[in-house]
């Protein structure tokens, strides 16, 4: 449950960007969170309002885009969707895979005024 400190980093980052942009208030924060990043979007939502209070992001809407997992299977020599790290390749049932997508933890964009 490191979502609390991640959310603190999000608020710090968006406040910094909003201030540099000369904005008074952040209306929306859009994040991209990979499904295999080990981050629980619901836990971020839970923390967000509490941490945002008293900042430029107070009352801001939080929009989380979830990024699907995608791996490269060395045995099938092709990309394969992956829902969880502990899942095997849906094609061959093996585990020899390299994770290529689904690890994102990014602030994508802000709506400010």
């Amino acid at each position: 449950m490191h979502e609390m400190s991640l959310t603190e980093s999000v608020i710090e980052l968006v406040e910094y960007r909003a201030r540099r942009n000369g904005s008074q208030r952040i209306k929306t924060v859009r994040l991209e969170i990979g499904k295999l990043s080990g981050v629980e979007p619901d836990a971020i939502r839970f923390c967000f309002d509490a941490i945002a209070s008293g900042t430029l992001a107070e009352g801001a809407a939080l929009d989380i885009i979830e990024q699907d997992g995608l791996a490269w299977c060395f045995d099938c020599s092709q990309p394969t969707p992956l829902a969880s790290r502990s899942d095997p390749c849906p094609e061959c049932g093996g585990y020899r895979m390299r994770l290529d997508e689904g690890l994102a933890m990014r602030v994508k964009e802000l709506e400010v005024e």
Binding site: S9, L13, R20, N21, V107, E109
Partner: protein
């Protein structure tokens, strides 16, 4: 304060730490040596001219950010990593659940390697300096970081601890993270490798239950192997489980109590320390060569200036 996880890095305390902050990293991960926010050059991209691609957001008020949430931590981690590389220091980040025997393993490791390499330790726990006290009893310098309600070490805490510890050239730096198989997986501290310690009393399916940590680690130490005779722990299953999360993970079975299997671990450390020292020496050599070239260029410039002053040109 979040009732859900209770995490709060601002409560972190580092033994003996006074004022620090030689440089700072902004929330977007950009490091600057100055502090005047008003003078920052802009990194923002505005969507003023192009079509708005995000539904529900008005074009003029969009600020595209595209920054990793952990950018700030990663920038501090990169600083730590550079420090380690340049000084030939081999740094490990030991992660596990509480009670896996990390501190006992460190004590045994220090006892075995003492006199051969300088070793220092950073201990992460929510409270008390009990672990650092145990390490200091071996004679090795140690700094305790108390994370308060925080559930992991971050790269800035480790950077501050490094300023206190000032590890020697070509040394071994062991960072014992907070006992937690979830959160420390996401935080790069600048280490060469994360090492996951799993004790055989915990159950062989831990890597299946906490795959992120075993995916982040390059080495798994199966500790307390002296207890295997009394348990139904399936070593092969545990290794397979770890490989499901991370096909490249290496495993060493050992007992910090009896010393069984310790040689394989110590040999691995020995080899890695050698590589780190060679790499540090290479960096130092190339730096000396670069300074030499700079000095020669300046000397040539000075000679040309002298000739000009003497009216020889």
């Amino acid at each position: 304060m979040c009732a859900l996880c209770g995490c709060d890095n601002r409560e972190a305390k580092i033994e003996g730490a006074g004022k620090y902050m030689h440089f700072h990293v902004h929330a977007d991960g950009m490091a600057h040596s100055h502090s005047d926010d008003a003078n920052h050059h802009g990194h923002d991209l505005h969507y003023g001219l192009g079509p708005a691609h995000a539904p529900g957001m008005s074009q003029a008020r969009m600020v595209r950010v595209e920054q990793d949430i952990l950018a700030k931590n990663d920038a501090y981690a990169a600083t730590n990593r550079n420090y380690f590389r340049e000084h030939g220091i081999f740094a490990l980040n030991l992660v596990s659940s509480p009670g896996s025997g990390k501190t006992s393993l460190l004590v045994r490791t220090i006892d075995a390697l003492q006199g051969r390499y300088p070793i220092c330790v950073i201990e992460g726990d929510q409270q008390t300096s009990r672990d650092a006290d145990r390490i200091r009893a071996t004679g090795a310098p140690a700094i305790q970081i108390n994370t308060g309600r925080g559930c992991h070490l971050d790269a800035l805490m480790v950077g501050h601890a490094l300023e206190q510890l000032r590890p020697e050239e070509n040394s071994l730096m062991l960072i014992e993270n907070v006992g937690n198989l979830v959160c420390p997986a996401s935080f790069d501290l600048g280490e060469a490798h994360k090492v996951a310690v799993l004790s055989v009393t915990e159950g062989e399916d831990k890597p299946l239950k906490y795959p992120d940590m075993f995916a982040a680690a390059d080495l798994m130490l199966l500790n307390k192997s002296d207890l295997l005779a009394h348990l139904d722990f399936d070593v092969a299953f545990a290794i397979d489980a770890a490989r499901q999360a991370n096909p490249g993970i290496r495993t060493i079975v050992l007992s910090a109590r009896t010393g069984e299997g310790m040689d394989e671990w110590l040999d691995w450390l020995d080899a890695q320390l050698g590589i780190a020292a060679l790499r540090g020496a290479e960096i130092a050599e190339s730096r000396i060569a670069a300074f030499g070239a700079e000095i020669r260029a300046l000397e040539a410039l000075l000679a040309a200036g002298n000739r000009l002053a003497l009216g020889q040109v």
